[in-house]
Symmetry: C2
Subunit: 568 residues, 2 copies
Amino acid sequence: MDYRPRPDDIRFLLGVLGAGDQLRTLPAFAEVDDALAGQVLDEAGKFVADVIAPLNRSGDEIGCSFEAGTVTTPPGFRDAYQAFQQAGWPALSADQAHGGQGLPAVLEAVLYEWLSAANQGFTMAPGLLHGAYDCLKHHGSPELKAAYLHEIATGQWLATMCLTEAHAGSDLGLVRTRAVPQADGSLRVSGSKIFISGGEHDLTDNIVHLVLCRLPDAPPGPKGLSLALVPKQLPNGQRNAAFCDRIEDKMGLHASPTCAMRFEDAQGWLVGEPGRGLHAMFVMMNSARLHVALQGIGLLDAAWQKADAYAAERRQMKAPGHTGAEPSLIAEHPAIARILATQRAWIDGARLLAYRTGLMLDVARHDANPKARASAQRWCALVTPVLKAACTQQGFDGASACLQVFGGHGYVREWGIEQNLRDVRVAMVYEGTNEIQAIDLLVRKVLPDGGADFSAMLVELRSELDASRDHDADAQRRLAQLRYLATGVALAAKAQPALAYEVADDFLRVTALALLAWSWARIEAKAPDGARWAQPAAALRRWVLPEFDMRLAMVKRASEAVALAGAA
Amino acid sequence: MDYRPRPDDIRFLLGVLGAGDQLRTLPAFAEVDDALAGQVLDEAGKFVADVIAPLNRSGDEIGCSFEAGTVTTPPGFRDAYQAFQQAGWPALSADQAHGGQGLPAVLEAVLYEWLSAANQGFTMAPGLLHGAYDCLKHHGSPELKAAYLHEIATGQWLATMCLTEAHAGSDLGLVRTRAVPQADGSLRVSGSKIFISGGEHDLTDNIVHLVLCRLPDAPPGPKGLSLALVPKQLPNGQRNAAFCDRIEDKMGLHASPTCAMRFEDAQGWLVGEPGRGLHAMFVMMNSARLHVALQGIGLLDAAWQKADAYAAERRQMKAPGHTGAEPSLIAEHPAIARILATQRAWIDGARLLAYRTGLMLDVARHDANPKARASAQRWCALVTPVLKAACTQQGFDGASACLQVFGGHGYVREWGIEQNLRDVRVAMVYEGTNEIQAIDLLVRKVLPDGGADFSAMLVELRSELDASRDHDADAQRRLAQLRYLATGVALAAKAQPALAYEVADDFLRVTALALLAWSWARIEAKAPDGARWAQPAAALRRWVLPEFDMRLAMVKRASEAVALAGAA
């Protein structure tokens, strides 16, 4: 069963956020009214359903093939990409000056959620474009921008991020690829990279690699890293010495070639300053991580659509209270109903948070008021790692739960649900493993200022709730508990720095659950009557939020143990 | 990396259980002393490591192939199975009178845990033998036994269980396959079955199908089901009309053919009484479900071995407190150490419970004292569904956590960890989905007598602890909380029967965690000093047992809501 976007759900959630009003305060989007946004969503939904979704299964079954340095994508992928590109979808949020549509990041977020849901193997290809675009736009020289920015913005050429080496994964400071400056101002880049998504393919005529490398005499570690732009085809029409040696055989995402790349004195050009390669990449970090969170949400929604449809037609045994002669629909069995409603609690609650993050990216880029920009930037910095980890974890756990709805029929290809599970698993790993996200949140962002920024962000969330409503009051209580917890961890971690690393995963998780409670309080305040929103809201309180108290207690206990040890 | 059994760990755990002493009280095993048991384990470990484990990866990559009704297993599988069979391993616990070795079920449990860990695709083939053997031994006619029991006990012929039909999965009462009695006392069996593991293959010359079917004029539903034995090769040498139409393309277990079978007036013979087909199958239920639990444990141990080895050689970044110049081993990073220790807490704790269940199967079969047999039977009935669900869930979740240790290297084939994750997933589904296990535990076994049997089992466990030890006292508290919870649910479910179905999954889970606490209290009382046992014990208390309180509160809240609704 192919994925079908449901734009009405998205419109409702954007309405809960007051997205339209918020965007109109930004000069860049003064003309993006609800009618235009709605039209973009409808057309995106149609394109995703008609062109991208139907290629999902064959993309997995046939996959990419590699021969003598060239990569062939599955049948239909090149045509689909060309249609995607020519319709202007890659350039949705790029500046109009660069050939883009100049639309808000929040709409791009919805588009990519749907693309991921429909066909993540396909979506890997354009998925890196916005990051490469931002990186080049902010750090590229005028010459590089003139030569590459338009082609990347419009997706005429695809782009890669060449970071990982065999010995340097989470620890990019170990990267060894060398870049030697030449008399003409270019670089000669040499080294081997692995896990390069889209390192080689037949979707576009040129591929632009952004390669993390080390200049001669650069210091060891992350501060010695620079970033080079290395195109597959040189401006003079020659083939550059950037080669694909093999593609990986992976658990999933068979339609996306994961390449081992070899650069042999390949010609390249510096992007940004020497030794500031990681800095140049970080400009795209929040948006890239948000997109990985959206993969988790999207693939979970795709799994849910399948399971929901199956549960509404498969009959087995009688559910409690069932009186008819024939067996019940399995949707009526409490265990199945729980699985389905719980996934919706995650999907819709996480969507609200992800779309808010998209809006905050827009505010951070375009608001005239520096305070508003700073506050939006704070939200993005703190919430993005939470969403990346929590949404991809739930994407996997929830897809497994949806597979369970099918029983044995879920373990075979028949319904396609096992592909969801295989495809979504990598999202817990790439763009920084979920464990790295947890360290990023707690160690790098919450603790350095003693929790002050985190606390300010929570207070802002709190102010958007109305304590006269029960669910709002409940969410406020959790936000307050979380603030208190952050302060306690900050104190204890001063006495014992290792503590922060030990509790980071639980701290991220308890944060995610508090945000989810906030999210659903906002949704319920606006939701029309009926099971569509009431069932997941009830599932959240009954089956999801109990974990909040458990994780809270775990982190608290560990922090108190440090305090007690200090007193002894 | 191939799996390697570690017999010393098993010997220690069997020692904690006092398995040797317990077995010697059973006349059937009077001669099974520790030396013999140890020798069987050592040889089993060697056979598994040398012959079975090396075929795991190629079995997955090449898989089974199907052509014109015949199935070819992956290269080396036929030879390995012949070696396995000729060494007498399939017949480990079968009676010596039938060509077996007459060894205890608990040793067979260890053997199958290792086989599953090493190569679950292979293990599917002999995995159904003991069930078919028990079924035939208890319910077969003297003629059927004479013709089939020896061949099945020794594994000379493999066996299948043909239960599922396209419309009848969890709900076997819907089975339609027909069996028409013939003048010569045989049956003519017609119908289509799906998901038949080993329905067709090239490992043995004959395959014996046990087919759930319906005699003419049988009542609808489960009480109209009978069981027929349908061999592939008839005693007269002719090919029977039992055909394989296709094999499924599955997420994992590629080395095991999952067959769609078609019976076209195939000749068969009744096993057991007409209309008692499910009853005849139930004789094998506990032992089959225990083996599925062991698959979860085994495949998790295999995933752990890989992750543990990788974490002990891969260096990335500096762990907190690390002072050396080079990066830390990833095993030193708290997030990785937590993943590894948590899996060991599950593996070793669950092993103790599974081996105790194996022992109880031996006691239930062989103890001279009817009271001891009844108590052992009670343990098996109550604990088996708990282990089946909890161990397979953790097998999957834990294998995913182990994959996470590898980062991107876990998502590609390279280290083989993604195969573990794909292979173990089905164990949550087959032999009764985990949701069915939860209903089996609570609705069918705990509630009918108001929790009396369950309570008696918990009291027995409690009596094996020594409250002067802290961890024992903690485990006792949890067992007491669980008893109280069961009583509360039993009361509330009388007022509202649907409640039991709504809380069944959480009730099973809280039971599993109480049993795990018991298990580790027993282990710690005997464990030598050192990290091997202390680390997982600490992980259990810090990261696993908090879920106990969470689930307890969830079930309690739901039960109290019923009581409050009744009072209103």
